[in-house]
Symmetry: C2
Subunit: 350 residues, 2 copies
């Protein structure tokens, strides 16, 4: 059963539950997992954030609950229509679409929150209902995927078809990996590094599927990384800027974020952060910038973050603190254009 069938069944169940209450002369009541920080716990075994057992009741007989109850049922029915028509919608479009139904959201932040409620109720990510954010990452490499979207269903695409890479949009995100000649996934933070690794044929040399993260990547990208890791058994290497923000991009891909604690199948616990580590900055004598207050504050926060409790991560934080310097992944260019591939990545990817 594919994702959208599963999503459709979950929505039908939700609808039935509401209708049956009404037919039995009871006000419908929904039980929603509690997303407050007090109920977000780090599961050391799964190596990721999960929701605890606490739940909230949304009771349509309670006047304080009616607004959000109505909003949630509307979002569910909107999602059902999307699935029935094999269509997608951006979060922004969903917000504006509500006006057609006289359902009122104060702003997009409110409708985004209700979409998250629907994820919690159904246990499925919004992407399986065809609801996506605007931004996306890119991918390139010797990997064949098979589309499942209408008009392209069953068509295969070789991810080396475009030397500029392919966007990880709704179609590619829901495509099935079919076969690959690659042996690893190498995800990099910047578009510049992504282009360089394509044109220097680093993807051939390291037998790598390349992914451009573009900062903290959308969930579709995190989900695809996990899929390639699990289904094709490809080890995952993460190459980011050498600063607290870059390190945290890697950590979220591995261990998830509190915001998506209610979603499964997003994390890749076995992924490896190859750098730029604070140690790399020193041993490769990279050109650096001084850390600013925001960087140092971020290090303090991360040092208290449960995802960084392991000795290895605490050590990275300690070293960044002593160094008080940061370096971008582009900084290797000081040794010429090929250094990052010929030396750094060759040192790091064994």
């Amino acid at each position: 059963m594919n994702d959208s069938n599963r999503a459709s069944i979950k929505l039908t169940d939700l609808g039935k539950q509401i209708v049956e209450s009404i037919l039995a002369d009871r006000f419908p009541v929904l039980e929603i997992p509690d997303r407050n920080t007090s109920n977000i716990v780090y599961n050391a075994k799964q190596n990721r954030f999960v929701l605890g057992d606490s739940t909230n009741i949304r009771d349509s007989s309670n006047i304080n609950h009616i607004r959000s109850f109505t909003q949630l049922t509307w979002v569910a029915s909107f999602a059902k229509q999307l699935l029935a028509a094999s269509r997608t919608s951006s979060l922004r479009d969903l917000y504006y679409s509500s006006e057609a139904f006289d359902v009122v959201f104060k702003d997009q932040a409110e409708s985004d929150r209700i979409v998250t409620d629907l994820e919690c109720v159904t246990g499925l990510p919004r992407e399986s209902f065809g609801i996506f954010p605007d931004e996306h990452s890119s991918i390139y490499g010797e990997l064949v995927m098979r589309y499942t979207v209408p008009g392209y269903d069953g068509r295969e695409i070789d991810l080396t078809i475009s030397p500029d890479g392919l966007p990880i949009g709704p179609a590619l995100m829901t495509a099935e990996p079919i076969r690959t000649d690659a042996e690893i996934v190498l995800a990099v933070e910047s578009g510049g590094m992504f282009s360089r690794l394509i044109e220097t044929k680093a993807w051939q040399r390291f037998k790598a599927v390349l992914i451009q993260l573009g900062g903290q990547p959308p969930r579709a990208t995190r989900s695809l990384i996990r899929t390639l890791n699990e289904r094709l058994d490809l080890p995952v290497y993460l190459f980011t800027d050498g600063d607290p923000w870059g390190m945290h991009i890697a950590r979220v891909i591995m261990s998830g974020s509190a915001n998506s604690a209610h979603i499964e199948n997003l994390t890749t616990p076995g992924a490896v952060w190859i750098g730029v580590t604070p140690k790399d900055i020193v041993s490769y004598s990279l050109p650096t910038e001084k850390m600013n207050n925001a960087d140092l504050k971020r290090l303090d926060e991360l040092s208290r973050d449960v995802r960084y409790s392991d000795h290895e991560w605490q050590k990275h934080i300690e070293e960044f603190r002593k160094l008080r310097e940061k370096a971008e992944q582009q900084a290797f260019s000081r040794y010429g254009m090929d250094f990052v591939v010929d030396t750094y990545l060759s040192d790091k990817i064994i």
Copy 2:
């Protein structure tokens, strides 16, 4: 002769000029078109900004000029190496690469400025030297392009291959348009609208090549829009948000920006801004937001901008000012998901 051959010849000429001076025991001197606002003039006939006749001298015997003279010759030699190796570089990478040669730039803003100097000296855009920014737009439609980049040279790509669209990166930007079944180019501001027009098959209905601008688009995108307009004779329609920023995205595609007054072949004077116009906001009763101070200030600036001197544009500004409201292109979703295609675009694209 293709772009990179032309660029290579220009760089060789520049090098020869410098070497010949030295061999004749003269300090080399470069004459660079002046980019100060006083020398940027609006050419009403060409319908775009151009540089006037004023030039600056960069004299290597003048101690105040040595720094920028050296930086410029280094950027020229870096560009020559890129061309020789058929490689590309991001602006950021170029900045870091300078360290390998002990050429000092204070920051990337300084190296970006010197790249612009090289554009002025040679009269060619940095893209023809293989130097690109990080960001990009996307494209989708019944159009076949032929790549010219190494490893893909001569390979054709059908721009309907990926239902998520294709990025307009270094490879696609330098590709040749071969054939098309489309009759127009329809460029839209947001990624959400781009996805919607793909999945509703609006590209078939309007026989359109779709381009996602993503805000003020990179020059590669403006250049590709012009190419499709000129070489394939496709009329260009621009669909942006209904606010001063969206309107200005359209105006820059038509008439260029002061920042790129020194570059030819970027503008598409005959492109049409279909909206969202202030009139559309009223006649389609779109959901709006109040304009903030930044919006109103922007309208004041635009009302004095030479690109808006035509009656038609002054009228748009006047109407926005009276309305004091703005609307996103997504706002049509209030009438359901298909309204924007079935009604609005059908009204506007004749």
